[in-house]
Symmetry: D2
Subunit: 261 residues, 4 copies
């Protein structure tokens, strides 16, 4: 049942809008006027003329709710990152570069009520915007938003970390110290030059390095004329993943040969 003040996604053809169902208000679009008084009290999934009203998914919130003051991590990448970093109920997760807080919402959900996400943002303007977005859209009280520079941040240890910085290689040793042994870490960078810099920095103290690009292609949904859409997103960023090497055993036979990597 759609209740007053619920968040809802209104779908009109291929456009979506995230709206609060405030009773005195209405939605004005190409499909006409949709008075919210007519919407409240109906079941979720009701079709009103050309408008369909659904409960918003996390993708709807990220795409149509979050106020963007930075480039966000788009769902195609965020969905992958979250599982690739093996985040599950109870995980302690570090995010460096909160940006607008879009990925933070997803990390929070994945870490669950028993988990904890620490998200660090250096720019005051972005920090405040992320704060607003989290206040509005966070489902669980498991996020600590910190206004700090990555280099000054000293907490830990974390089960996983995701880094969205311009020059992550400058912080690599520091970040490594915040992770549990074997913990996965991820990065997103837009250019190949940055990928090379990261790869260089990951040679010390990390293993299982991967560089991945996710291309996302939508199709037009007409059964008799199935075809990809004419235009697609050509690039968001390169994803880099690695895992922390905690110790190095040179001599397998020795039982006390653990040295720092």
């Amino acid at each position: 049942m759609i209740r007053p003040d619920d968040l809802a996604v209104v779908v009109y053809k291929e456009k979506k809008y995230l709206k609060k169902i405030e009773e005195g208000k209405s939605f004005h679009g190409k499909g006409g006027i949709l008075p919210f008084a007519s919407v409240a009290g109906r079941p979720w999934g009701t079709r009103f003329g050309e408008y369909d009203v659904f409960p918003p998914t996390i993708e709807d919130v990220i795409m149509y709710g979050v106020r963007r003051e930075t480039q966000i991590v788009f769902p195609k990448d965020a969905f992958f990152i979250c599982h690739k970093l093996d985040i599950k109920c109870g995980s302690r997760v570090l995010e460096i570069g909160s940006g607008s807080g879009a990925l933070t919402l997803l990390l929070s959900r994945a870490a669950g009520p028993e988990g904890h996400v620490v998200s660090v943002e250096k720019e005051e303007r972005h920090y405040k915007n992320a704060q607003r977005n989290l206040a509005k859209y966070l489902e669980l009280q498991n996020v600590t938003l910190r206004h700090a520079d990555a280099a000054d941040f000293e907490d830990g240890p974390f089960d996983a970390a995701f880094i969205d910085l311009r020059e992550p290689w400058l912080y690599m040793e520091h970040l490594r110290a915040l992770l549990c042994g074997g913990a996965p870490i991820g990065f997103i960078v837009p250019t190949t030059n940055q990928v090379s810099e990261c790869l260089q920095a990951l040679r010390q103290g990390f293993g299982d390095v991967e560089v991945i690009e996710i291309l996302f292609r939508r199709y037009k949904t007409v059964a008799a004329r199935l075809r990809p859409e004419d235009r697609m997103v050509g690039h968001t960023g390169y994803l880099i993943f690695a895992r922390k090497i905690e110790a190095v055993v040179e001599e397998l036979r020795a039982t006390d040969g653990v040295t720092p990597p």
Copy 2:
């Protein structure tokens, strides 16, 4: 700390192996012999010669653990599906076509300890294989595996559903009845002909239909010679998503105009 009988992923160059750290045993690979007696008691993330030993992620389990008697839903698709269907702690999820149970593991994790996944498999052989895989790798006790035909399955309602069948269009009305109003449903099919059939069947009773293809590209991880890998996976399947239309209001002004779609 790696304890005896832990599952671990052993990484050698770009190959990975999922192994139980059984004390009397050892791993024999191109990097030499790795006796598990030397591994137990070390921290996670220890490097032994050319071998790195990490705690397995869910991707490691799906790729190197699950015994496959069917084509599995690959991580690139599974990770996306899981969030696209908006599965979160507490979700009640329906999976039709358990296959080898790979996606089931991920759905279980996403639904969390408060959630519930019902996974239905018709083929006895696959059902038994999925049962074995779940017994071995499931982290939470929130999955009910059912040996049944989709058409005979009558539970519900579910917050989300994922369907991996050859002819899902034959079951569309039945599946729709098992979903909550506005609930997302997803499908994976390998051919464009199947996509067209699904799109046709989704015209009644569903909205917000999307067809998506995820292309996944790996790069070689040499900083000074960054380049994509020579070969890549060209296709796994087309993903189709929709949401259940629960009711149709013809006249926006009327307050009692709800009709079944």
Copy 3:
């Protein structure tokens, strides 16, 4: 040397303009005014402020010269088609569906002065537009443009054919009769449904059938920040190629076992 009335491509940042260097005129763009009187008499490849002036390539003519009244075959596809059909100096080429004549220009060039291209267009409006484009941009006098329906066209035999029609399967037998034994034939269609129909029709009388899609990705050209462009063309069309089976020999030993396919 750029001479008066030459066609030239004017490049300003990432935009290109095909212009006739008419002496009294000038080019007005974001880089300021470029008087053509200053251009004529200079060498090709002269940089005037932010404008570069080059001799137009066939890609420039197709992209910025040809007046489009139809969707054209884009260079990424046209360049491939031309060689895939093995067109060389002296080839006799059939094109069904001249459209705006963009591909015709390329086929003409590939067939060379000794070759011949017959291009057939049914729609009078497109025929006339193609005529204008060919009059303006054709380099060789080796094209016959015909205003006719594919079904009524009876010439031949051709060394190669390219078909850009909505329902090519309706003409398959007729088209086959116009080709030399073993000759390649190509098609472009936008939807998967059309691909399936073509494949079905090609089962009789054709061999070596291939379906191909060419994805074209541009990068931003900043050395220190190399990255793909944000948006790309997601789809133009599916390319289908086959070769004519001329005869079938059932019994390899027999010397007179040739039967029509």
Copy 4:
């Protein structure tokens, strides 16, 4: 008509073989034995059991004929390069890095009987292999193969050039001097690091710089089960194109302000 000693491509399912139809010999494959004595005298495009025999296209020659001692420029890239460089009947074309001569065959065809291709190879072993391949497969006598280093080569001017070297940026100024004003030049390099180096070197004396990647996707050709192939080529190389800036006019009004770039 297939004559004795003709080159032919034998197609068996999705495999192709380039063969000389030598009368005493035969083709042995999974489709059985095909005695060439039965083939000679038949029309092109004859189907013999499961074998189809066609006249070889230039793609067949490049893929199944050319003996490779180097990585070749694959047809998907070669076909594009050839037109992008605007090569037509009469063009004078420079190729630095003949490799195995695969692209040379295509450039030769595009330049036509009136054109000329100069192809330069430094490595003696590759030079000799290219020589053999050209002797076997060249259609026109318009190619000069040179055993020389790019830096020592002093001919010109050329209408277009293609460079397949490991470090093309070392030769950029030298190469520029060999080109006509406004002439297009192309490069292929496998890594992003090389692309960045080239872009840096192209900043002086070149305009209209483009970086392009061509992804090529094949589909299985079953009408009722249309789908992309499971595996595809993930990467061959990045293509870079530019055009020579011949002169720079600082002051548009002045008529004698041409300075070298």
